[in-house]
Subunit: 339 residues, 2 copies
DNA sequence: AACGCTTGAGAAATCGTTTTTGCAAGATCA
DNA sequence: TGATCTTGCAAAAACGATTTCTCAAGCGTT
């Protein structure tokens, strides 16, 4: 009867035995540290390769106190924000062998606590905290964590390290684009006033609009876009020649509502959105000129920062506002009265 | 000079010392195993609590050979599928202390390989593989993995464990709903023919339509919905009285294109979508009756299955087709000629 | 009183690595 | 020719838990 081939995982011990050396020598050779003869080292590496040895990250981490693992805590379940950011984070970390635990808290504090505890127990090297809005509720526990924390998308408490899109810059891009279209009576239709992002964009709007018409706060939906236009028309005021919308959904609603009334975009009114959520911005008619927050890049930056921190490099606390990018499509006129 | 308070993590050793017992006794007491006096046990547990002891999961895993960690490999970066499923998986696992590594491969084989290796090195207990489509490319490595693999959303190779939405059931729900609206000339406008999901839904459509008009394959976009209607109208054939769309984006395009031509939904034609991607289905005018695949539930099921497997319980290989659910909104007539 | 059984707890081995220390043998130097 | 350095490697001690032995004390039985 044949002895069955052992499917047990190969350990360092197997390598050492096969190479006829001690554990320490094998370890040194594989890691390129310590003093080990070049030929011996080469032999050990070759053998490790041959028998398919892969070091057990658990054992390694236990020893080194670095798990090469980080946690990402988010409250955004349906994830148009989290996934691009997560992909960015992952992208810059995977080459360093760092993996990311993704934890969706679904805005449930109990769940958040559970996840957080699991992450700490698993000795993650750091946590990236991201939320659609952080300006209201602040999870107390996160403030006193024994490991580095980085905030992404939403700003953390004072003294923390945060990466957020530069809403003001985004708003400026939008306004400049509208100006370029020759718009002089620009309107701002945006989301709820209790969103920091909405307030920031609105403030920037007021700075850049010559005569600042009161921004219209509502919610983030297409429906609100419709309603805003309806209100505008029924008020009988002079219509604007440019509209800067707080997000793409509102913009889509606005454009559709205008078309329903025979007002054409961009012939009569130019429209700029915010988010570049492609499923919307590409499919409005006409396709939407909009502001892209570069979420993936934001994720990359956060990931890189985390990498530095876990390597012990000091990092300046504070909020980094990452520039936005204007994506030109067809909802903005090329020049005043040309289209 | 005061000796600084040690911020070193509390270990089992600290507990044992504080309780004046040995490591083994402390361990036994905390885990409720072995023989240890009730009072002693209580004291140990109390002390552990007091000094805030939390066992190091790394050390525990090293010993137990179970990391309480699974990997989720996906190629869907912008994630309307992955995140709900991931949330479902997480939801059923977090209570068991199991965390999920999310790896976005972005359809890059090198990246997939990298992530996979990292997961294996980290001794994950299993891998959940999910992709928007698996019917074409099959990652070879996944077939011979030394740990359990579960496929979610897309079906795995023969002999594997898969959880997928029951496309046929979904299609039936859609068709039944259209029948209920009194539709007799039903059309199917769907995505590319090389998507298995498209073929399955189309086949079911043909089964349920009395006179099966050739399904119209295109792509998954709103634009294709517009184009399909344009084609239909220019052909001059009799228009259908019901349209079953392969996804919500197509449905939205269809509805908008019909409205542009003065054809009203649901007065003249009833429309049903597929996906219940709310940002679309809620915002079509009228809001879209559509088929929900229950992705979160699918994730839950996959998570539970993984739990069973890692506990050593055998699990029947094969594909589980999870039922869909019809979400009624306003794009379907209530009865023939009533609306 | 001798034997066995149960209870309670400690000692030591183990998981798979890394890291520190020790120690021969050969090379270099005065 | 000794004294000191370097080289190459092995032995052993971590890392923080779990688990398997071992063993003493207390108890009941004959």
């Amino acid at each position: 009867m044949l002895k069955p081939i052992s499917h047990r995982k190969r350990t360092l011990r197997d390598v050492a035995k096969a190479a006829g050396v001690s554990l320490s020598t094998a370890s040194n050779a594989l890691n390129g540290v310590g003093r080990v003869n070049a030929e011996t080292s080469e032999r050990i590496n070759r053998i490790a390769q041959e028998i398919g040895f892969r070091p057990n990250a658990l054992a390694r981490s236990l020893q080194s106190k670095r798990s090469s693992t980080i946690g990402m805590l988010t409250n955004d379940t349906y994830g148009r924000l989290t996934l691009p950011m997560g992909a960015g984070v992952s992208e810059v970390l995977v080459d360093q062998g760092v993996s990311v635990f993704l934890c969706a808290t679904n805005n449930d504090p109990r769940l958040a606590q559970l996840h957080l505890q699991a992450l700490l127990d698993k000795q993650v090297d750091g946590i990236i905290f991201t939320a659609t809005r952080l300006d209201l509720e602040q999870p107390r526990e996160l403030l006193a964590l024994p490991i580095p924390v980085i905030y992404a998308f939403a700003e953390g408490p004072p003294g923390s390290v945060s990466f957020v899109p530069d809403d003001e810059h985004g708003a400026r891009l939008a306004m400049e684009r509208l100006r370029k279209s020759g718009c002089s009576r620009i309107l701002h239709i945006t989301g709820p006033k209790d969103y920091l992002a909405a307030r920031l964009r609105a403030a920037a709007f007021c700075n850049f609009a010559e005569a600042c018409r009161e921004p219209m706060f509502g919610d983030w939906s297409e429906e609100w876009g419709h309603e805003a236009i309806a209100r505008l028309v029924s008020d009988g005021d002079q219509l604007p020649d440019g509209i800067f919308c707080g997000n793409d959904e509102i913009a889509r609603g606005v454009i559709d509502a205008l078309r329903d009334r025979g007002i054409l975009v961009p012939r009569d009114i130019s429209v700029v959105g915010f988010d570049n959520w492609e499923v919307i911005s590409r499919q409005t008619r006409p396709p939407l000129t909009t502001v892209d927050m570069g979420l993936m890049e934001l994720g990359r930056q956060a990931g890189l920062a985390m990498l530095s921190i876990t390597r012990g490099e000091a990092i300046e606390p504070g909020t980094r506002r990452l520039p936005c990018r204007l994506v030109e499509r067809l909802s903005t006129a090329n020049k005043a009265n040309e289209y």
